[in-house]
Structures are given as structure tokens and as C-alpha cells.
């Protein structure tokens, strides 16, 4: 049962073509890591999957929704697809609890007591129960990112997208965020992550995709891909990564 289908997707920014015919299929409960140099198109691909970027051609189907033009259908899709960003993007004027409860309350019309219950549950999942009433700027980067993950989870998504979520964090804080993501993967969440954490990709991702020049250059089970890269570009890329 495939949760994400991407078929021959092309995407250009002006004259620059960043995705040159990308296709992939992610099964339910699978974890896909997208790796590659900056500018290889991996973040753009991820952002296309929830409609933050509009594709020029091709087809994307995710969590049972076809990505299209209709705004209402797109919102429906987004209730089932969570995304976490590199820069956390918490709402600074709201407490942690309010950040998490806002979308379930106004988008899904969840009752306040129920929303609070869910917020406490997802906060516990990311290990931040005691921060319910804190404001984002009172938290460390790692904590803010865990709250951002909790905020997404509160919508009960079927697929989670992670866009370089640890790139702004120092190693210690990176670890606590990765642990949360690993737990999610173990719990069976379908996940696609753009990452520079090769160790994490190797350990947690079921499949790893190496992107190069807007194309899927190499793809395979993480273990095989890292142990035995087929293309010179991936060999070079894996070698240059010391981690």
C-alpha cells in the first residue's frame, strides 16, 4: 500500500529547472531519506509534496490525496501531511500549548478539552510535558524543534515530512531531535526526510535516495546504498561526509 506516489515531476524556478522528472513511491510505514548536495533539488521535492511549491508537470499523490489546484482539496491534503522546517517556525506570540492546539481547534474543530488532551499527549511524546505554558523564545533550538514536531503530530498526520530539521542545531541538540524522529519511525509513521545526517539516514531510513542535478541519481535500501554506492557522484558524496 503506497502512501506517497511521485510521478515524473518537473519543477522550475524561472529558467532554472530544479526537478527534472522525479518519480518515487513510498509505502506505508516506510522512512525515506533524501540526501544530496545543496541545490540538488531535495528540499524542493519535499516542499512540492504538500503544495508549498507548485509543480510544473507530473503527478503527486500523498496520503490518498491527489495534489491539485483546488484550495479546499489542498487543505484537506495538508491535514493528513505534516511538515517540520529547518527554522522551527513556531508561532512566537503563542505558548507551546497554544501552538499545538491552534490548528486542531480551528482547522479540525476539535473541542478545547480534547485539543488540550492531544497537546499534552504529543508533548509527552517529544519529552516536553513541562513546557506547556512556556513561550517559544524561552526554549532551546532543540526544544523548539521538538515542539514543532509535536504541533504537526497533533493533527494526526498520515505522512510526516522533515526538511533539514536538525541543520540549525548543534550536535547535542541534534541528538534529542533525532531521537524523537527515530521513535516516530519505530511507531510506524510514514516519513520522508531531507537530511545531512548520514548516520541517521543509514540507521533509521528504510530507503535512501541520493539526488543529484534535479534527478534521483541512486536509490536503494539505506544499508546497501551507503555500503556499496554505484555512481561516482554518490561515492564522492559519501566519502566527503565525515560523520
Amino acid at each position: 500500500m503506497s502512501e506517497v506516489v511521485v510521478e515524473n515531476v518537473h519543477k522550475s524556478f524561472g529558467a532554472l529547472e530544479v526537478l527534472k522528472g522525479v518519480s518515487l513511491t513510498v509505502g506505508r510505514g516506510e522512512v525515506f531519506a533524501l540526501i544530496g548536495r545543496s541545490g540538488s533539488g531535495k528540499s524542493t521535492l519535499l516542499r512540492c509534496m504538500n503544495g508549498l511549491e507548485k509543480i510544473n508537470s507530473g503527478r503527486i499523490e500523498i496520503a490518498g490525496h491527489a495534489l491539485g489546484e483546488d484550495a479546499k482539496a489542498l487543505r484537506k491534503l495538508r491535514t493528513d501531511v505534516g511538515i517540520v522546517f529547518q527554522s522551527y517556525n513556531l508561532f512566537p506570540h503563542l505558548t507551546v500549548g497554544e501552538n499545538i492546539m491552534l490548528a486542531p481547534r480551528i482547522v479540525k474543530d476539535v473541542a478545547k478539552t480534547k485539543a488540550k488532551e492531544v497537546a499534552r499527549e504529543v508533548l509527552q511524546l517529544v519529552g516536553l510535558s513541562e513546557k506547556f505554558d512556556s513561550y517559544p523564545d524561552q526554549l532551546s533550538g532543540g526544544q523548539q524543534q521538538r515542539v514543532a514536531i509535536a504541533r504537526s503530530l497533533a493533527m494526526r498526520p498520515k505522512v510526516m515530512l522533515f526538511d533539514e530539521v536538525t541543520s540549525a542545531l548543534d550536535p547535542e541538540l541534534t541528538e534529542e531531535v533525532l531521537m524523537v524522529m527515530e521513535q516516530l519511525a519505530r511507531d510506524g509513521m510514514t516519513m520522508i526526510l531531507v537530511t545531512h545526517e548520514m548516520g541517521f539516514a543509514r540507521r533509521v531510513a528504510t530507503q535512501t535516495i541520493f539526488m543529484h542535478k534535479g534527478k534521483i541519481w541512486e536509490q536503494g535500501s539505506s544499508a546497501a546504498l551507503f555500503a556499496n554506492p554505484q555512481t561516482p557522484e554518490l561515492r564522492q558524496f559519501v566519502k566527503s561526509d565525515v560523520k
Binding site: N50, L52, R75, K76, R78, T79, G82, I83, F85, S87, N89, L90, F91, P92, H93, L102, A103, I106, V107, Y135, P136, D137, Q138, R151, S152, M155
Partner: protein, 219 residues
């Protein structure tokens, strides 16, 4: 004919007229605020024609003197058959003037909210209206407080222009008293002092807000 001198009675008249300056300021800020808010939203709308229309409105209002707006609404409309009392003409033109500037100030504040806040709220499946209501405007309003209060100072002072169509606010009252007393220095010094008494605390408030908002960058 006895020449009166500038005394307590006259000062009382200035104080009384100051009320009308304040009334006019309040009308301009409320009316201009409502209109300006709508224009600011239109200025940041998704539809390009709406954005262009709002931008043109702002350019036109900012590109003509308040005095012309005032003459157009007072003399212009009376030529067209509408006889406007000075308060209405003055209130309407100050409203239009304030809306042009507040719209531009607030557009800047809305756009000062990081693009990522739009992306995050959009990704949580919020409608555009919900994004404005729950995420963007609460942050934009915070940013807008210092420049808005700062602009209120300009409005207080610019209401003096309405003296030209015979609306008796503070500046006009000064002229009337001067006509009777021929003590321009005393009279206009008192008028200036009264404007200052209103404007100075507002400027200070604007600065205070700015400092406050810069320190703790949340809430």
C-alpha cells in the same frame, strides 16, 4: 473699539478648541484606521488587480497635499450640490489622509512577519483568513504599535490644516484670538504649547513601545 488682551478667558477658549482638535484626531484615526486596514489587507492580497488598486490608492493619497483633499471635499462637493458642514468635511478629509498613510505603515508591518510564519500556518491547513486572524495579524499588530502611535502625532498636528475651511479647532481658535488681541507671539506660543502637551506624551509612548518590543521579542 476696545482691544482685548490675551488672558484667562482667551486661554479657556483655546482649551475648549483643543477638544475639537482631539475629536478630529480621533475621527481621523478611527475612520482612517478602518479604511487603512482594509487597504493594507488589499495591498497584501493574493489577487494582483486588488494589490494594484490598493497601491494606487496609497500613491494618490500620499501624492497630494492634505489641503487639496480638504478643498476637494469641502468646496468640490458643495459645487456638486452637497453642502457639507465643516466638521464633516474636515473629518472626511483627515480620514482619507490618515487611511493612505496607515495602510502603507500596516502593509509594512504585515510583510515584516516572516514568510515562514505563512508557510507554517499554511502547512497546518489553515485558510488564508485563519492565517491572518490567528498567526499573522497578532504579530503584525505588535510590530505596528510604535509607528502607529508615531503617526498619531502627525495627525494631531495636521488637523490644524482644517482651520482653513473655518473649522474652529486649536489653530483656528488661535487665529481668532489673535485677530482680536493682536498679540500673535503670546497667542501662538500658547497654541504651540498646547500642541506640544498633546504630542510629546504620544511621541514618548511610541518610543517606549519600541523599546519594550525590542527587548523581549515575544508576546
Amino acid at each position: 473699539m476696545t482691544l482685548k488682551t490675551f488672558g484667562l478667558d482667551q486661554f479657556g477658549f483655546l482649551l475648549f478648541s483643543l477638544q475639537w482638535t482631539l475629536v478630529l484626531t480621533v475621527i481621523a484615526l478611527i475612520g482612517g484606521g478602518l479604511l487603512g486596514f482594509a487597504v493594507a489587507l488589499a495591498r497584501t492580497a493574493q489577487l494582483k488587480p486588488v494589490r494594484i488598486a490598493a497601491a494606487s490608492y496609497i500613491q494618490i493619497i500620499q501624492g497630494i497635499p492634505v489641503l487639496m483633499i480638504l478643498f476637494l471635499s469641502y468646496y468640490g462637493l458643495s459645487l456638486a450640490g452637497f453642502e457639507l458642514p465643516p466638521l464633516i468635511a474636515a473629518g472626511a478629509s483627515m480620514t482619507i489622509y490618515a487611511s493612505g498613510y496607515l495602510a502603507e505603515i500596516w502593509r509594512g508591518c504585515i510583510q515584516a512577519v516572516p514568510k515562514q510564519q505563512w508557510e507554517a500556518s499554511e502547512s497546518l491547513a489553515m485558510t488564508r483568513l485563519q492565517q491572518y486572524r490567528y498567526v499573522i495579524l497578532p504579530q503584525a499588530i505588535r510590530i505596528s504599535l510604535p509607528p502607529t502611535v508615531g503617526f498619531a502625532v502627525q495627525v494631531v498636528k495636521n488637523t490644524s490644516i482644517t482651520s482653513i475651511i473655518g473649522f474652529v479647532e486649536l489653530a483656528r481658535a488661535g487665529q481668532l484670538i489673535n485677530n482680536a488681541t493682536f498679540q500673535p507671539f503670546r497667542v501662538f506660543l500658547a497654541v504651540a504649547a498646547l500642541y506640544f502637551v498633546v504630542c510629546y506624551p504620544l511621541s514618548q509612548l511610541s518610543r517606549l513601545l519600541e523599546r519594550r518590543l525590542h527587548v523581549g521579542s515575544s508576546r
